[in-house]
């Protein structure tokens, strides 16, 4: 014999509502939990695959490193040779060459004018100390430098134009007691034509010899 409880319609409705609420809650919670679970699984799988790839690459890298290390001498020597070559080229291109300038200057100067001190900067601005017998020769020297390669002593294979520019005589003084009393000492500065400097460089590169 079974006992049958005849619930009131309101009570039955409530029971159904509670059941529905429980079911809905379970569905929502399961959905949230499973989506998080699925995300975790995907990320784990992805991470696993990446770890496998990472380890594979590590082996490949070790092999390559071993290969490179075995040729470290070649690497060092190549780098050394290349660096020295570039360095030598840079140094050669920017160095100051005076052999030709010395010759040209001695050609240009009047006979009784003597060069005593001489320096050249990177832009080929020459600063020189010169000895001359008197003031008029000092003046002559300026003219001689200006007219060099224009009307006086043309340089072979080079266009006729002033090669010594911006000539400035900075100071003139009479020689000291141990020198001839009339000797004048003066400081002169001037620039050298860029094309002529280029010619010095080209000539020095084509010059053979110098096996030292």
């Amino acid at each position: 014999m079974s006992i049958r409880i005849n619930l009131l319609p309101e009570a039955r409705l409530l029971k159904l509502k509670y059941q529905q609420t429980r079911r809905l809650t379970i569905i929502i919670c399961t959905l949230i939990a499973s989506s998080i679970g699925a995300t975790l699984v995907i990320l784990l799988l992805l991470f696993g695959a990446r770890v496998v790839q990472f380890n594979g690459n590590k082996d490949k890298m070790a092999e390559l490193k071993k290969n490179i290390d075995s040729k470290s001498q070649v690497e060092t020597d190549s780098a050394w040779f290349n660096a020295a070559l570039v360095g030598a080229n840079t140094a050669t291109d920017k160095r100051i060459l005076i052999s030709q300038l010395f010759v040209r200057l001695n050609e240009a100067l009047p006979r009784d004018v003597k060069l005593t001190d001489f320096s050249v900067d990177q832009d080929y601005k020459v600063k020189a100390s010169v000895k001359a017998p008197d003031f008029s020769t000092v003046d002559l020297m300026g003219d001689a430098l200006r007219s060099y390669n224009v009307t006086n002593r043309l340089i072979t294979g080079f266009p006729a134009k002033p090669v010594f520019t911006d000539i400035r005589i900075d100071s003139v003084s009479t020689g000291k007691s141990n020198q001839a009393s009339t000797t004048k000492l003066f400081d002169v500065t001037f620039g050298v034509d860029k094309e002529l400097v280029q010619k010095f460089r080209t000539d020095s590169k084509t010059t053979t010899g110098g096996g030292q």
Partner: protein
């Protein structure tokens, strides 16, 4: 008529609120409590799952990103290392040729690294050059020394250069005496020497038959470069590649 009005109002109210009147029995109360407890537990568990799961998701996502970047860096390393291996194989052959001595029994490699730009600022190497210059140009050379720090000429100076090495210079002073022609030849010879000489200053004295030159030159040398592994952060490398239009 007047008594039936409140009853009608009650029906209308219950219809509009659509609320089930809860029978206040013991069973219904326990049902209500059960549902409430169930909801509390379910929401708590879900919140816990979300929190714990979220934390692990965040961590795993981070680990994945880190690993992905590490793999990207590895790929770049492998690509560059492969290129390097190819280049080294090519360089090995070329280096073998460069190291072959020529007719003067000196290889190009030795000429550049030992003679043109030696690794030290040793004066001994220069003395050999001056000895030859003296013999060839008949100029008498004396008092060769490294210049001191005083004066306009700087001591050891670093010259900026490309490549792996740093080129340095040091000044040397010496006195050369000879006839005008010999001096001319000497200046020419020093400039065409394999070692790079860079003129600094000159003082002249004497007569055309015996000119004395007090000279200062800068001489170049380069320390042997050392190859060191370098590391660049991935984002920096990628930015550099992008800036250079790095399709390589």
């Amino acid at each position: 008529m007047a008594a039936s009005k409140p009853a009608t109002t009650a029906v209308i109210k219950s219809k509009t609120t659509n609320k089930v009147e809860m029978p206040q029995t013991q069973i219904s109360r326990s049902q209500q409590t059960g549902v409430r407890n169930f909801l509390i537990i379910a929401i708590s568990i879900t919140a816990l799952i979300v929190l714990v799961g979220g934390y692990f998701t965040y961590q795993l996502a981070n680990w994945n990103i880190t690993k992905a970047n590490e793999i990207k860096a590895q790929d770049i390393y492998i690509k560059l290392a492969n290129e390097k291996v190819d280049k080294l194989a090519e360089a090995e052959t070329k280096l073998k040729d460069i190291k072959q001595p020529d007719s003067s029994q000196v290889s190009d490699f030795d000429r550049i690294t030992q003679r043109v730009l030696p690794t030290t600022d040793d004066l001994g190497l220069l003395l050999t050059i001056f000895q030859k210059l003296e013999t060839e140009t008949l100029v008498k050379i004396e008092n060769i020394s490294k210049a001191s720090a005083s004066g306009a000429v700087k001591p050891v100076e670093t010259v900026a250069t490309s490549g792996d090495g740093t080129v340095k210079t040091f000044p040397i002073v010496f006195k050369a005496t000879g006839k005008y022609e010999s001096i001319q030849n000497f200046l020419k010879a020093i400039e065409s020497s394999q070692r790079v000489f860079d003129f600094s200053t000159l003082k002249l004295s004497g007569t055309p038959d015996s000119i004395s030159l007090d000279m200062t030159y800068r001489v170049y040398y380069m320390e042997k470069p050392s190859i060191l592994d370098s590391q660049t952060p991935l984002d920096e490398y990628q930015a550099k590649q992008a800036a250079t239009g790095g399709s390589k």
